[in-house]
């Protein structure tokens, strides 16, 4: 295969991967951030202790975390059909990617928020801050570097998941590697795909590290 033959394959696949990862990252943050906050706030020694509710949430999160992504993807096909009306194509795979990443990200959010010292939280309570104000003005800003680090890990994981989604009809670089690299023995394309993924992951990780460092004032 020549470069002229590979480029028309690589470019759309990269765009599909970017779309899958981009949209699912957005939805993961929108759903996972509140979930992670809830895991901390409703904890036994949280701002609003509701231990039974927190245990329930924790259980659901653990179920999501314990299913291998490839199994989860197939298991929630009916749900995917309900949400997007189809189970193939890039858009359809945003659903399982999000469902798979939300519990993962929520746990990372939980960890980052727990890193915030109890002394600053109590200082805010002593100043008469409401629980909402403590979450918005203390917990989230203080945990921001950790949240960014968690998000970076999540995005990298999503790129990995999206490759699996590719094999079930989601398109993207994973799909390309399976169809050409594995099924047609196009070794050169396989190598190029691997290098491309590597570069993307490295760049994202470096970007995430840089932003986290910039935000940290310790």
């Amino acid at each position: 295969m020549t470069w002229d033959e590979m480029l028309p394959l690589l470019w759309p696949a990269t765009v599909e991967t970017a779309q899958m990862v981009g949209w699912s990252t957005l939805f993961t943050v929108l759903l996972g951030l509140p979930l992670g906050v809830a895991l901390v706030v409703f904890d036994r020694d949280g701002l609003r202790p509701l231990p039974a509710f927190k245990s329930g949430l924790g259980f659901v999160v653990n179920v999501g975390r314990s299913l291998p992504f490839i199994v989860l993807m197939i298991a929630i096909i009916p749900f995917t059909r309900l949400v997007v009306g189809t189970t193939i194509g890039t858009a359809a795979f945003v659903v399982p990617l999000t469902v798979g990443a939300v519990p993962f990200f929520a746990r990372l959010v939980e960890t980052a928020l727990r890193e915030v010292g109890t002394d600053v939280v109590q200082a805010a309570q002593a100043m008469g801050a409401s629980r909402t104000a403590i979450v918005r003005k203390v917990l989230l800003p203080e945990a921001l570097p950790g949240l960014v680090a968690g998000l970076t890990v999540t995005v990298v994981a999503l790129i990995g998941y999206s490759a699996m989604a590719g094999t079930l009809g989601g398109g993207g670089l994973g799909d390309l590697a399976v169809r050409y690299g594995y099924q047609r023995f196009e070794t050169l394309l396989m190598i190029v795909t691997v290098v491309l993924l590597l570069v993307i992951v490295q760049l994202l990780q470096s970007l995430g590290d840089w932003v986290a460092r910039r935000l940290s004032h310790k």
Partner: protein
């Protein structure tokens, strides 16, 4: 200004506060002295209800905090400043941002906030440092930010949780001097807890000595010093306890240069040997404590004379 009655706090079977009554008058600096584990931190945290007491009531500025709901309690807390041993500053904010935090909570508009932050930083001697980050400051400067932040809501009461314990001696003195100044200039009532006698000696008007969840002794320092056998006096003055048999311990307040001892020797037929003693500067003035042995026929008359001169005379059996 602060009135706590019958405070009990239990964690499971551990009793942290075992029936504590505390009365802090308006405009005074009140120290709670005790070793770690004595319950003083729990007591302080019960005053603004960071810890809810198992039993008892807390009244601050005439308001029974234990009776308030969440919203009203938060409003009341905005009028009670607090400073912390490890400063508890937000690393995500600048110095100015930290001081502005309580003002944001109170809903003060931005322009007003900025003006007030400038005033507060000047008050604590940090003008021009507003744009710095907390990690760029020394411990003493961080505590000054903490103090500025605590004063943002014009509180009538300041609670200090071991605020100088993480600081070196010179910085401790400068922070204590600042607290004393705020106490005098703003009429701020300060309740502080500490394990350092030095803090009590330098700034406190009144003190409570705590051990095992109870207050063992409390009152105005000037009164406690005059109370024979008080724990405070024994702890401030490093004289060997118990006093040796036959010795006499004299405590004198006021001008330390009053020549009563030489007068006694001149007027009465006694021999006087000094066994030990020291003079301490307390916030209310200096106090001396002298242990002597008095021998001679006129010793009882000499002691009576000393009592008449206003000294506190404690005779060891």
């Amino acid at each position: 200004m602060i009135q706590a009655s019958g405070l009990r706090k239990q964690y499971g079977t551990t009793v942290a506060l075992d029936g504590v009554d505390l009365h802090v008058r308006e405009g005074e600096i009140y120290g709670v002295l005790g070793q770690s584990g004595a319950g003083k931190s729990t007591l302080l945290r019960c005053v603004n209800l960071l810890e809810r007491p198992t039993a008892g009531t807390v009244t601050v500025a005439g308001q029974d905090l234990t009776a308030l709901g969440d919203r009203d309690l938060n409003r009341a807390r905005q009028r009670i400043g607090m400073i912390h041993q490890h400063f508890a500053l937000l690393s995500s904010r600048t110095v100015a941002g930290n001081v502005a935090f309580p003002l944001e909570i109170m809903g003060v508009p931005r322009a007003e906030r900025e003006r007030r932050v400038g005033e507060l930083l000047e008050l604590v001697g940090l003008d021009g440092r507003g744009k710095d980050r907390p990690h760029q400051l020394s411990g003493g400067q961080k505590q000054r930010v903490g103090i500025a932040r605590a004063l943002a809501g014009n509180p009538s009461v300041l609670l200090s949780d071991e605020a100088t314990s993480a600081l070196d001696p010179a910085t401790t003195q400068s922070i204590l001097a600042l607290l004393k100044r705020l106490n005098t200039e703003l009429g701020l009532t300060i309740l502080l807890i500490t394990h350092e006698m030095n803090v009590v000696k330098s700034v406190c008007d009144s003190v409570a000595i705590m051990a095992a969840g109870r207050i063992e002794e409390s009152g105005a320092i000037a009164d406690l010093i005059r109370t024979p056998g008080s724990r405070l006096t024994r702890e401030i003055f490093p004289l060997p306890e118990p006093a040796p048999a036959g010795s006499v311990t004299l405590t004198f307040t006021g001008d330390p240069r009053q020549p009563v001892v030489s007068e006694v020797v001149r007027k009465f037929d006694v021999d006087l040997s000094i066994l030990g003693g020291s003079i301490e500067d307390l916030s209310g003035g200096s106090v001396g404590r002298l242990r002597v042995a008095l021998d001679g026929a006129e010793a009882p008359a000499a002691l009576a004379y000393l009592r008449e001169s206003g000294l506190i005379v404690e005779e060891a059996p």
